[in-house]
Symmetry: C3
């Protein structure tokens, strides 16, 4: 059990109230019990927090809340996320190789790992210290899992796929399948060689049933800190820069390069050989045609994607078309008179 004082110390917060208050969980103000931590980030939500059963509240500088113990922090929501991880830590790993796991003799397994039931690990694969592989994970020949990774049930790593440290892969993720490339000739599609690498960087999280293909001749590379949602498609040779965020059902086509800290909304489609520079924001369902560049910091929407202000302006003009047409008609009528 943690106390408000300990939490304040962990967060570097200024505490006001009862420092011995026990804090054991996190919740929404409405659902919170006395020992849950809650947060407020704007005066608009003050009343909701005041009415909560929670006794300990993260607040921005200068906000007072009668009857509560408050912890003043710069960003209450960020502090809440950090506090949650600290109050509700992942249970300590119970090192075990489940007897039903099938591990090739030449696989290199570090100590201190958990390999769940019915996991298959093929020749020369490597699993780093502190990693957990849940049931039905498949680690192909020569694939590498770094330290402190978490693979939920039935993740597939094709032969040679590499994931680095503290990577979390959700159920159904597939890393390293052949990219989608063919050359048509002699009456059939012949596969263009799909023999490149795929590497997923430190602290990456990838959502359920998402797919990251291996490179064709080059490499597919997901940099450190990237967060990818469910049902996302990352094609061969794609690069995604550090800390970029990719929402659900996005598709990124071959050889496209995404910069750092890019935000990609749900169902966005990016064609092949595009460049999305650092810090760009792509609105949900936007479509980027082949070979286009989205400039750093631009916010775009629509298909083909354009700056969101222009999208909205054009959209406004379309709404005014009936009016324009009637004005033209009026001018024509006047002329006839």
């Amino acid at each position: 059990m943690r106390t408000a004082n300990e939490l304040a110390e962990f967060l570097g917060a200024t505490i006001l109230g009862n420092g011995n208050l026990p804090v054991s969980g996190v919740a929404n103000p409405d659902a919170a019990r006395a020992e849950d931590l809650i947060y407020v980030d704007s005066p608009r939500h003050l009343e909701r927090a005041a009415g909560s059963e929670a006794l300990c509240v993260l607040v921005p500088a200068g906000m007072e809340l009668a009857g509560k113990t408050t912890l003043e922090v710069k960003s209450p929501k960020f502090a809440f996320a950090k506090a949650a991880a600290w109050l509700l830590p992942r249970p300590a790993l119970r090192a075990e190789i489940h007897p039903t796991a099938i591990v090739a003799n030449s696989a290199r397994l570090s100590a201190g790992i958990r390999i769940g039931p019915y996991v298959v690990i093929e020749d020369e694969a490597e699993i780093g210290h502190g990693s957990e592989l849940d049931a039905f994970c498949f680690i192909g020949r020569g694939a590498k899992v770094g330290r402190d990774c978490r693979l939920h049930p039935r993740v597939t790593l094709y032969a040679g796929a590499t994931i680095k440290d503290r990577v979390e892969l959700h159920s159904g993720v597939v890393i390293g399948a052949d990219g989608f490339g063919y050359v048509f000739g002699e009456g059939r599609h012949v596969k263009f060689p799909q023999v490149g690498r795929v590497e997923v960087g430190d602290d990456v999280e990838i959502g359920c049933n998402s797919c990251v293909d291996r490179g064709s001749l080059d490499a597919t590379e997901i940099a450190a800190g990237v967060k990818i949602d469910n049902l996302v498609q990352i094609a061969h040779n794609v690069k995604i820069g550090e800390n970029s965020v990719v929402a659900a059902q996005v598709g990124i086509s071959g050889s496209t390069s995404i910069g750092d800290s890019v935000m990609i909304g749900g169902q966005v489609g990016i064609a092949d050989h595009c460049t999305v520079e650092n810090g760009a924001i792509l609105g949900a369902q936007a479509g980027i045609p082949t070979g286009k560049t989205i400039r750093g910091g631009d916010v775009v929407w629509g298909t083909p994607a354009r700056p969101i202000e222009r999208f909205k302006e054009q959209y406004g003009w379309i709404s005014r078309l009936p009016d324009l047409a009637s004005r033209i008609r009026k001018l024509e009528d006047d002329r006839k008179r």
Copy 2:
């Protein structure tokens, strides 16, 4: 073997013709054999039914079909669906816990269930009477499967996920993974707590490789009778009301609320914190921006979605733009003269 009379009784239909006719299956008119049931719902398809080898036909009131035994019903297609389930019932469950299934001691398994090969059921999970779990299903700690459920091969229920009675989950479905929410600070994305519940109601069916995330602090809730197609993404805290229908590849973002009997077309994207009221219809590929409300019974299309009549009207105006432009030019030329 059933007879036409028995079928008429089951459906509450008025029979005309040979009541002793055997009826053993269902088919399209073109592919039907003598003992298959077929249906006609409009005079347009009368000829096709007349030419079929099938001898027993579901028809709307007042429709005659020489040489066939007809069963008059209010809605032939609905009666056909009911008849199919009655003529071709799911084979009786053969209760069995496959010897390769790994079931935690603290899991509570009802009698009369079938647990397929290589199923993994973790601590304190519950499986209700009459449920079937096919190969490679994973039921996480404390997850609950109700009565008479059908989980096809390799369904994943994360810890704590709850599905109620008569739920059918197709191969690759994942229920209860972490939602996608982060707070950026100190140079990295920290996960916002994803510790809420997820509950799937009675009689829900979810298609292959679809994903329903758990709530962040609240709950994700799919109400009774909802039907969800393949490759659908349901984010944290989403609510879907009774009997709503969600076509393939739809994405519903966090904290969005869908009413009852809503129809969502394929590839629709709904951003976060939207409200879709009862009975609304969202055309395929429509996009609903953050925070929008779609009114009850509205039919919308496009991105950003608007009423379909307005969408079509605006689309029509766009087609007339070259004409408008040439009329403006003409007016300008006239003025110069």
Copy 3:
């Protein structure tokens, strides 16, 4: 180890230079080592090839490259794809039924197959000669796998699904689940019978986590040579003609018919009962409304999809709307004077 001469013979190429040069792999010019094969298809890339460490280069007729051994071919990229398959053949299959595979007594397994760990094969299923099924594959009752197929880990074939020869299915593919069809009545959605067949033709490749549903009463049919990318949805009763190519995250709704050699871009959505004729090209994210026909050889884009030239023209007109409006205003002002 192959030589340049052997490769020239295999490809029917005209060789210029050292025929005894060893050739052992394929690569991009930048990454190539001396023994890798590279290709050039246009003079633009000549310099890059000239600077490569690779010594053996596929070139189009008439292109010279000092210091390299060149193999003149009609289509260097196609020859490169063929050469890659020949230089880097799939390792010879090591016939084996893994002892953990669960194979029903009534299943018919040909000789010369590899069945991986934890595969489940149900009653009356068939596996043809030379096929490989990786870990966690599930072959339902009566499903058929042809000759020389490759099923990557955790592919699901529902009961009765049929795949023919040389089919490659990537991890997470599901073939033959129930289609998505209901009839609403008596306050609930009753499933329309989903009892039809599904057949995947020779030489088809299907990407990770893609889904092909069985027919409702008819059949779902993927013809020979079709290539389907990741996360694609193929609904009940869909037909796809020979050698068509379907990019990632495409959705094809029920009873739609796709011709031969059709190219479908990423995230395209095709509603039900559409016809896409031979050789049509559907641009990424295009949407085809219910019942539409796309003519043979047409190139379309947008939602609703229209010929790409018209799409671009209309898009251009939208950009000119502010100008048109100011011209109308000017005409109005002039008139007032």
